[in-house]
Subunit: 466 residues, 2 copies
């Protein structure tokens, strides 16, 4: 079986010198990571840890999704548009980019295993207008995704689309909307029932950023022909590895230990650098998971801790020509995680016919896969010599199974790291103030107090504007 | 005239409390930023500051580029593909996204002002193969961009494309390649002359990350119908503002002062957060400019300083649902710069017909532009109340002129900040080791010493792999 591998040699003093970690550091933190792993084992499947059950309990859900996806294709639907944001969009985008053709939407219909896919995760009016310029709503199904059922951005998009569909299709509009939301709470489930939209449920114990392997992610993936059963099997395989109590056997435990050690040594930045265009949006998905789960003002006892490590998305080799200078020579304040693939899914030889100049022709007869692998190793080498912490996660090949392993691995690493830091990795209390201020500015009923607070805030001064 | 505005109220103690800056801080740093501005004035147009001349001295170049772009369209070319990386791709991508339709490549030919545009800034074999699946090289012009003329990634792509064009077109292949490179150095100019490719020159004093307003960026922009003269006029307008010696009148001086003050207070992260999909890749372009210019091991006197502030790309409102939790509650280690637009170029009303539920219907009758503006202000407000440093750059509207202002503003801010930190903002010595290690791994002649060095590096240990 093809399994994800974590190589953390370049976190250690033997490779990067005095700035690195030691076997003593690992031994010292072992009890803390073991305690976190025990919490993980005890709380599995409960509370906000329902995501640990997703690899095992979705046989019927998968059947239902596959049947619906088949139906979409049979109806001749040309576009499938996700309306969602954050936890409702980052997973679908990451999986789509990883497993579909890199110019999927630009392929002719007969070369695509499903409709074109668009994931609309912003409310920029120009973007919404641009989408309407290139799709015909009559040939389109819209997947409205919101765990809470009350996400303002998604609701706004939904209202616009519902209106456009009604104008174009009359009462048939309802067959062009499918909702993925909580079974019990929020407006969306009520609207869907009242108006007859197809519904898929997000389980209660699955928060947005842990939801890719529930219908949030499975439905758009299946519509595009991705093997969702294999994605779940990969997650299950990783879950088994993550149940081991020896940090030297359990990659998520080791990664959590390394993360906490690095944070305690002052590394407040975590760079995720895939060496594959297909994995570039896994870095975005990770950025939410890591940023929102660990970035907390208070620990679970109420102490002010201001925890968190800022995720940075990077892309190899592209960002070698943008960020490597900083990574190599700048402050020693970051950990760089390379995402490698063992074998790319296609080859691309560099022809043998050169131009007669050595600085060009030395590349002839090699291949892009040789070059990208050499550059990844050379970059890790250069950063290591520069004393910068880095590690490498390798997927032997990229497919639904190994991607399922990778996503689940990051989820467990994040949960364990949160437990070790003493914060709740499953809440996000810090976004409420901005939401409520938006409601107040829009004049929503019930937000008069917030409106008064805004009016009484210190006024901006003209001298601080240029 | 529509001018960029910088609002830095939320950097100051009056807004964010004790973590903020004071008028005393600004007064204390004024002499340093003035000295930097004097360096800028003295070195304008010389050495690696040739980019300050670009807004003024390119009348003939612009004419030549416009004529070439017209020729491309007249030939019925359907695709224009940039082969370039880093400073040769980030500018073209940013300007394309900012000023062209957000689904430009998916528009039918008759609705586009030029051919489809692809910017290929990676050597992933899967990506190259995917491109070949959707374009016909016989209908395509390839723009090979490399300042040095020796960039391995771009050279590899070039060799692959040259071979494919020769196979498809025989001797006509040369009319499908246009090179943008240094007039004097490197292989690319020699190849272009030997094989008869059209050539555009990158001036000597213009480094990659300062090159968007030379033919590197102007050519792809013009091919897509962008008003490049207006882009340059915007840069010229900003250049005039940046020649003022009063930091309270000169936004780049003030921004440099704020940057240095924030770094000295421990802010090692700079988040760039545009509230417009059109500006999202300006954040990527900025990330290179800021990261590569300031991330330096040594100052110009040779002292070890490990300067630099890590740029982070973010997108409003999207990343409110990913990163805001961390920004609001996490460590006070970052400065967040919002990029705002005063008026979006299209409206998108939210229909008045609701669903009969308050938590949905309160949005009815508003518009996406109202919502995105409210969310931006609410996010700035929430971060300010949380004591997190933030500032806002506003473009009254987004067009070629205001975009030209913005790009030039960042370039001057970066140069001034580099001067204040005592580093050379125009070099990138830290990328050589990785490049040379790549050459050694590929077996290039002349890199035997590096190969031996690689062989003698500490071996990775199996116990640090899981």
């Amino acid at each position: 079986m093809e399994r994800l591998q974590l190589d953390f040699n370049n976190m250690m003093q033997g490779q990067i010198g005095p700035h690195g970690l030691t076997d003593g550091d690992l031994a010292a933190i072992a009890p803390r990571v073991l305690a976190a792993q025990r919490t993980f084992m005890e709380q599995r499947g409960q509370g906000m840890m329902g995501w640990t059950s997703l690899p095992y309990e979705q046989g019927a859900v998968v059947e239902e999704i596959l049947a619906y996806a088949q139906d979409i294709r049979a109806r001749g639907i040309r576009n499938f548009v996700v309306l969602g944001i954050g936890g409702s969009s980052l997973g679908p985008i990451a999986v789509h980019q990883a497993l579909n053709h890199l110019h999927y939407n630009e392929l002719p219909d007969e070369k695509r295993p499903g409709p074109r896919l668009y994931v609309e995760d912003n409310i920029d009016p120009e973007r919404m207008r641009a989408l309407m310029d290139i799709i015909d709503v009559r040939e389109t199904v819209f997947n409205v995704i919101s765990k809470s059922g009350n996400t303002s951005e998604t609701t706004s998009q939904f209202l616009i689309i519902r209106h456009a569909l009604k104008e174009a299709l009359g009462q048939d509009y309802a067959s062009h909307i499918v909702c993925t939301t909580s079974r019990d709470s929020g407006s969306l489930v009520k609207i869907a029932r009242a108006e007859g939209f197809r519904l898929f449920a997000i389980p209660d114990g699955v928060g947005g950023r842990f939801s890719e392997t529930c219908p949030v992610g499975l439905l758009p993936a299946a519509v595009c022909g991705i093997d969702i059963a294999s994605l779940l099997a990969g997650a299950a395989d990783m879950d088994k590895r993550c149940q081991q109590q020896d940090m030297h056997q359990n990659p998520a435990m080791m990664a959590a230990a390394l993360s906490v050690l690095s944070m305690e040594k002052g590394m407040n930045i975590s760079v995720m650098m895939p060496y594959a265009d297909s994995l570039r949006y896994v870095a975005d998905w990770y950025a939410q998971l890591w940023g929102e789960s660990l970035g907390k003002l208070k620990d679970t006892r109420g102490n002010i801790v201001r925890a968190g490590q800022t995720p940075v998305k990077s892309l190899g080799v592209t960002d070698q020509h943008s960020q490597l200078q900083l990574y190599a020579e700048g402050p020693q304040d970051k950990v760089i995680t390379f995402l490698a693939v063992g074998d790319y899914r296609t080859g691309m030889p560099i022809p043998k016919d050169g131009v007669g100049i050595e600085s060009t022709d030395f590349l002839c007869g090699h291949s892009l896969e040789e070059l990208i692998q050499a550059e990844r190793k050379a970059t890790a080498y250069a950063l290591t010599r520069a004393g910068q912490m880095n590690m490498t996660i390798t997927l032997p090949t990229l497919n639904a199974h190994t991607l399922g392993q990778l996503l689940y691995y990051f989820q467990v690493q994040t949960a364990l790291t949160g437990f070790m830091l003493g914060v709740d990795p499953f809440d996000q209390p810090g976004v409420e103030n901005s939401k409520n201020a938006t409601y107040a500015m829009l004049g929503r009923a019930g937000y008069d107090d917030k409106r008064r607070e805004l009016e009484q805030a210190p006024k901006a001064e003209e001298k601080y504007r240029i």
